[in-house]
Amino acid sequence: MNAPLKRTPLFASHEALGARLVPFAGWGMPIQYQGILAEARAVRSASGIFDVSHMGRFFLQGSAATALLEWVVTNGVSDLEPGRARYTLLCNEAGGILDDAIFYRLEENQYLLVANAANTQTIWNWLQHWTRRFGEVEMADRTNETAMIACQGPDASGFLETLLGADVAPRPFRFAQVDIGGAPVMVARTGYTGEDGFEAILDAEQAVGLWARLLGLGAVPCGLGARDVLRLEAGLPLHGNDIDTETNPVEAGLERFVRWDKDFCGAEALRRAKEEGPRRLLAGFRVDGRNIPRPGYDIQNIDGRRVGTATSGGYSPSLDTNIGLGYVDPALATPDTTLVIDIRGRSIEAQVVALPFYSRRRMKP
């Protein structure tokens, strides 16, 4: 059962930087270098780089590629122009969330889908399964032959300008094929931190070079620990914690990524769920005091009746308070509602707040 951990093309770079490496979805990944909080703060105030090469990168092309994607993702595909990217969910027939992903329209009939590392096999099999119904789609898993580096933070766009020698940085949720020091790189203005930044996909052999260049520009190497802190502050769900096959986009508050006017896998079940109204809703909350809410803790109403479960939680360095996400009775999901989190037997009050917890527009005028 103990298969050796896979290594990204940047593994040796992480070791050289003194990273603490941990198993994550079958990969040996850096959880931190200097420290989670220092890294998270660096991304908010300057910039950080993350090795996200463990995420699944699937290339789809062929005359039926659009039809296939349109069926497996909840967001719209046909109306996305080449050169643009979109966040989406992938649902099973019951409307449960198989994964959340970003897809990039490379050409009219050519796409890249980036899936979570833990769901890579599931999503690959899922695409294969539906390909049979839609026909002409050529699929390639290029996870191992490419690398992916996320550079996030207010300094990131300046780095891109420096690297490209011109102001050709793509705007948010757009991407460009560029040349960085002789290496072809796909640069997308996307991320998972709530900060401006870009994600670069390039040949595995070129990864160490780009990583070193970004370090040279002053980017702080950041691990999965900081990534989790930042995404939680930004109110972004983590698949496996906040969303999974037992939850649907309606209760997860992700309806804005669902196109109700199209047919897609899970649509029927989701329409029914929407009609009936959600039995629970994903809510963000701030905790009074310094005990940290963690996934799995019970959420109660002020009378001590259990009304849900926390799915994420942690200390927010940007807000200097403890925050969390959890599913609660819909009546209790509105901001300013008082909840009680059972933190290992202690009843700690929490207030529901609107998501995101942190927004760079709100925090930095």
Binding site: Q32, I36, N291, G314, Y315
Partner: protein
């Protein structure tokens, strides 16, 4: 390096006898390294007592929460006041600045059940 002026437990606490029957208690650099960024200590108050090998508090790091176990028994004389505002002091200096409690040592014999610096180093290097 684990200082050899104190004793250690397998739960990664240290205890340093300081004379006058007092003992200072803290957590080891190894524990701090494993915890990562510490953001909160849940500690008892001066005047309360701790019992050897019994839980006396909790430490919350960004990654996880862990129980704290007393290396010796005794009445609490002092609680490190710095930790309530700057729990990260333990990350910076677990051996001196980041101490947790000072207790009145109840029974010297309890120290026999603790480890030397060398024994603790052997435990944590495997």
């Amino acid at each position: 390096m684990n200082p050899d002026d104190r004793r250690y437990t397998k739960e990664h606490e240290w205890v340093k006898v300081e004379g006058d029957g007092k003992a200072r208690i803290g957590i080891t650099a190894y524990a701090v390294e494993e915890l990562g960024d510490v953001v909160y200590f849940e500690l008892p108050n001066a005047g309360e007592s701790v019992s050897q090998a019994q839980k006396f508090g909790e430490v919350e790091s960004v990654k996880a929460v862990s129980d704290l176990f007393a290396p010796v028994s005794g009445e609490i004389l002092e609680v490190n006041p710095e930790l309530s505002n700057r729990p990260e002091a333990v990350n910076e200096d677990p051996w001196e600045k980041g101490w947790l409690l000072v207790v009145r040592l109840q029974d010297d014999a309890e120290l026999g059940g603790t480890m030397s610096a060398q024994e603790y180093s052997d435990l944590t290097s495997t």
